[in-house]
């Protein structure tokens, strides 16, 4: 394995590494520097201002709102999504016949799995626009039209500041559940049938099966799901920009850090402030990932 080894290695690595360093690594590094300047983007002049941009964030009401929204997203979205996905994947994989030797999913499980997963195929923008119409306050909205038929409503999903963020969370859960159903199903398929059958023979019912067999053996996969959903909870830019009224409104009731960065940078040309927000977002994401890995590192059940 000697011939032309180094020319080959360099030849194969040069293009990807140059591309990656230029467009990914350097911008990330530069962001930490730009965050400490008062750069307005339009003029090439800027001053080094140290941590002023970060100090200014403390008085920025929209920043605190965005932080609180990430907190809510982080708590609610993963919990609800994982809960629903776990119940569904349990039903689809072991919810059927309880006779020993016939462990099976519920009838029609293939169909459900295909339907549930489909929203993953759609851009979050497309989903946002669809739900913009579904949530429309007037009779043209799917839900309010139906409510009106029953003599109820209208519910102002996106215009009511107390409801708007929850409506967005509902859409994210709507889209996400199917992915985790498929993910958990794959995890459940790797749990040996014998274990379920042994438990059934011992008189375990469905609930015991779920809590004592499925859940502990699926812990690793659930942890992965938690990390994925947590990282998604720090994004939510596209859905908020498309679905929320008036840029993260009403009155900042749905804004997220990603949206604030975009607005500060490309609407107001506050490049420094936008980058400072980016740095905060980075440390939040990193803290979350580190904490999750620590807290959830629990004794996995070895088979």
């Amino acid at each position: 394995m000697r011939r032309g080894r180094y020319p080959f290695i360099i030849g194969f690595l040069a293009a990807p590494v140059i591309l990656y360093v230029t467009f990914v690594v350097l911008p990330y590094v530069e962001a930490f520097y730009v965050a400490m300047t008062d750069w307005r983007g339009l003029s090439p002049d800027y001053n080094f201002v140290g941590l002023d941009n970060f100090a200014a964030l403390l008085d920025n009401e929209r920043f605190w709102k965005a932080l609180r929204h990430h907190g809510v997203l982080l708590l609610v979205m993963p919990l609800v999504t994982i809960f629903i996905a776990l119940v569904f994947s349990f039903l689809l994989n072991v919810g059927g016949s309880t006779k020993p030797g016939q462990m099976a999913g519920i009838r029609g499980s293939g169909f459900y799995r295909v339907v549930f997963f489909f929203p993953q195929m759609l851009a979050i923008v497309v989903i946002g626009v669809i739900f913009g119409r579904v949530f429309a306050p007037i009779d043209s909205g799917l839900i309010n039209g139906a409510l009106n038929g029953l003599g109820l409503g209208p519910v102002l999903f996106m215009a009511d500041p107390d409801l708007a963020l929850w409506s967005i969370i509902a859409v994210l859960v709507w889209q996400g559940v199917g992915f985790y159903v498929v993910l958990f199903s794959a995890g459940m398929a790797s749990i040996p049938r014998d274990i379920y059958e042994a438990a059934l023979i011992d008189g375990a019912n469905k609930f015991t099966l779920f809590f004592k067999v499925t859940l502990p053996l699926l812990w690793d996969t659930i942890q992965v799901a938690w990390v994925y959903l947590g990282i998604a909870a720090f994004d939510a830019f596209a859905i908020v920009q498309v679905l929320a009224v008036a840029d993260g409104g009403p009155d900042g009731a749905t804004t997220v850090i990603g949206l604030e960065i975009y607005q500060q940078a490309f609407r107001d040309s506050y490049f420094g402030k936008a980058s400072a927000l980016g740095v905060v977002l980075f440390f939040l994401t990193l803290t979350f990932a580190a904490l999750t890995l620590r807290v959830t590192r629990r004794e996995a059940v070895e088979l």
Binding site: R3, G4, R5, F12, L13, A15, P16, V17, L19, Y20, V21, T22, F23, V24, P27, Y28, E30, A31, G41, F88, L91, G95, G96, I106, V115, F116, F117, F118, P119, Q120, M121, L122, I124, V125, V126, G128, I130, F131, I138, D139, S140, L142, G149, F179, L183, A186, D202, T208, V213, V224, A225, Y228, F237, A238, G258, I261, Y262, S275, G278, F282
Partner: protein, 305 residues
């Protein structure tokens, strides 16, 4: 494992109570499965409902959309709205732009990603680990952090508001996951075939393209699907990088849809909006119908360790 083990004595003690228990169990199971079916059906309707409603509304007139019940069928099946969405709202152009950008960027991602992953997985050399971790650490950074410097970088290179710029950026941001996943995959390939090929006089490059790549097919398919769908649905990058003069001609589908959604409010042409949405959903249904299994595997590939 701590499942309750029932005492064998109580299990066989009395046949009567045994039969009673079995009946009770059976009715419990039936109740359970009815509940389960209801839950699953409700969710399936919640998924299909809005999508079906969107498709139906594309055939309706504005009056029908506003006055009639949302579940009413359109009075006449007119395809006008699709025409307006395709021509006037330029959904056709946005769609083709997306196809072009994603075709180029996914091809580039797979080519460069597999080359880097292969070398990092199967060759030992100084700096190997450093480069590998450089790629993988990209997974931990939110793209929003890089947004401003990325914009400036492209501006300085004259690549702002160009397809080339967008494609290169898509490739660069897809590399961390692609390299991470494919490097793990290349590691699992057997050495024997590679050694035999080298003895037969194959060059390193030939070995890669005609032996290792074909052997890595399953992994390549998964990660290609993952990248196609991820890049097709990308929003923050095109919104940031395709702005400026005549940018709206270059927009990708997600930008176009967001724009049409805003415009539909002013022009009160809701049917065209639903037409545009339908045109962006239908191809996905078609592709999903054809490659459903591959797609599920591809998208969940990264999460299964």
């Amino acid at each position: 494992m701590s499942t309750t083990v029932s005492d064998p004595k109580t299990r066989t003690s009395s046949t009567a109570s045994h039969r009673h228990r079995q009946e009770k169990l059976r009715s419990e199971v039936r109740g359970f499965s009815i509940l389960a079916h209801i839950g699953l059906a409700v969710w399936a309707i919640a998924i299909i409902g809005p999508l079906l409603w969107t498709v139906l509304a594309a055939f309706k007139t504005n009056t029908e959309i506003f006055i009639e019940s949302p579940f009413a069928l359109p009075k006449s099946w007119s395809f006008d709205a699709f025409g307006r969405a395709w021509e006037d709202a330029h959904i056709g152009r946005y769609f083709l732009n997306s196809v072009f950008v994603v075709a180029c960027s996914t091809f580039g991602t797979m080519l460069l990603g597999s080359m880097a992953a292969y070398v990092l997985a199967r060759y030992e050399f100084f700096g190997n680990r450093i480069i590998y971790y450089l790629f993988v650490s990209g997974l931990a950074f939110p793209v929003f952090l890089a947004l401003v410097p990325l914009y400036l970088t492209l501006q300085n290179m004259g690549l702002l508001n160009t397809y080339l710029g967008l494609i290169l950026v898509y490739i660069a941001y897809s590399l961390p996951f692609t390299v991470f996943f494919l490097a793990a995959f290349f590691k699992t390939l057997p050495n024997a075939v590679a050694e035999a090929a080298m003895i037969d006089g194959a060059s390193h490059t030939r070995l890669f393209f005609s032996i290792m790549l074909p052997m890595a097919r399953p992994g390549l398919i998964s990660i290609t699907i993952f990248n196609i769908i991820g890049q097709w649905n990308q929003y923050i990058l095109p919104v940031t990088l395709l702005q400026g003069e005549d940018a709206d001609k270059k927009w990708v589908l997600t930008q176009g849809i967001a724009q049409i959604s805003t415009a539909a409010g002013y022009e009160a042409d809701w049917a065209a909006l639903f037409g545009a949405l339908t045109l962006s959903v239908l191809p996905m249904i078609l592709v999903y119908g054809l490659f459903q299994r591959h797609i599920q595997q591809g998208l969940t590939a990264g999460a299964v360790k």
